[in-house]
């Protein structure tokens, strides 16, 4: 039983999501997105929108969830490739920057709604970012034997720097992006070195 009806419904739901994505751009943010325009691009009547979402806000939260998930999957995948050897820092940052370059609309949405005007949105994005930090903390504790508290400072700082660089990448040319990538890698290494030094300092201070 495929459920012709349910299938069709899912299809127009995807059409709505896709339409919203398409309308997002550097000039046109989520806040200034209109139900009518989205419905128009999805090829349905404005009133039909309500068969799928209660609000534009509900649609937006769906976008945030899907976008965050996609980014995290990508990074996890890149971390696995690292098992083969190579710099984990370089690989992760590169993957991140590639995501930004290839999924501009989604990343822009995440960024904007991070400090946007809907508390719901802000919390959703914050949750996504915390996912990243948590995964990084786990890595630092498990693979590098970091003290958990220090690992949290460390990971949080890295995530802040990388996301911030991602934001700048949105407006940058390919060449500028390349440079931004190198700068960011260097900065992450500085932070790693600083965390290492801090760990050594704490040890000598205690023992």
């Amino acid at each position: 039983m495929a459920g012709i009806r349910a299938q069709q419904k899912e299809k127009t739901r995807r059409a709505l999501i896709q339409a919203a994505m398409n309308q997002l751009s550097a000039e046109h943010g989520y806040a200034s997105l209109s139900l009518r325009e989205v419905a128009r691009e999805a090829g349905i009547a404005p009133t039909s929108f309500y068969r799928h979402f209660q609000n534009m806000e509900e649609l937006g939260l769906t976008l945030v969830d899907e976008g965050g998930l996609a980014l995290r999957q990508l990074l996890r995948q890149s971390r696995q490739q690292i098992a083969k050897g190579g710099s984990i820092i370089r690989a992760s940052v590169t993957t991140f920057m590639e995501f930004v370059a290839n999924n501009t609309a989604i990343f822009r949405l995440l960024l904007q709604e991070k400090s946007g005007n809907s508390r719901e949105f802000r919390l959703a994005v914050q949750r996504e970012v915390e996912h990243f930090t948590a995964e990084l903390v786990d890595y630092l504790v498990a693979e590098q034997q970091f003290d958990r508290q220090l690992a949290e400072l460390h990971a949080d700082a890295i995530v802040r720097v990388v996301f911030s660089a991602g934001a700048d990448a949105l407006d940058a040319s390919a060449a500028e992006r390349q440079q931004l990538l190198e700068v960011t890698i260097a900065q992450v290494r500085i932070i790693a070195r600083g965390a290492e030094a801090t760990r050594a300092l704490a040890k000598s201070g205690l023992s």
Copy 2:
């Protein structure tokens, strides 16, 4: 010659700016601000708006400029107080966080338009942030004899971390803000230590 006329004009101009500020909040961003509402709050007819600004965009850019300027002045002032002794890192980060707490609307505007939908806005905010970084670089080169290139990496990373923490502070309670402040100070110190280690590393590698 005071110029009663020019004086009055400036007064309503300030009223418009103030009205725009007042309407900015966690729920109501600049994008969803309407000319009519701003004019209403400023106590003038909608059409009179055009006597002072061509667009809402022009008003917004004014807000960005003024906000950035205020923040920079505050930080410069706090850096001077440091001459009396004390931790420059703690003082600067504290000042920054106080600004965020006391000028929520402005900081929110800066943040939102940093990745907002008007290229003009984005560039304006970016320019403000670059001012900060540049001042910090100068400090690092002059007072701490850092190599300029390393100082730029260092300063840029710090600014990214601090601004990002400021963003989180907007939604935080007083207690959370206090904790965020301490965390951020610790992170800036980690970065400073990392930069120091990197400098040592470069020296030993060269000589």
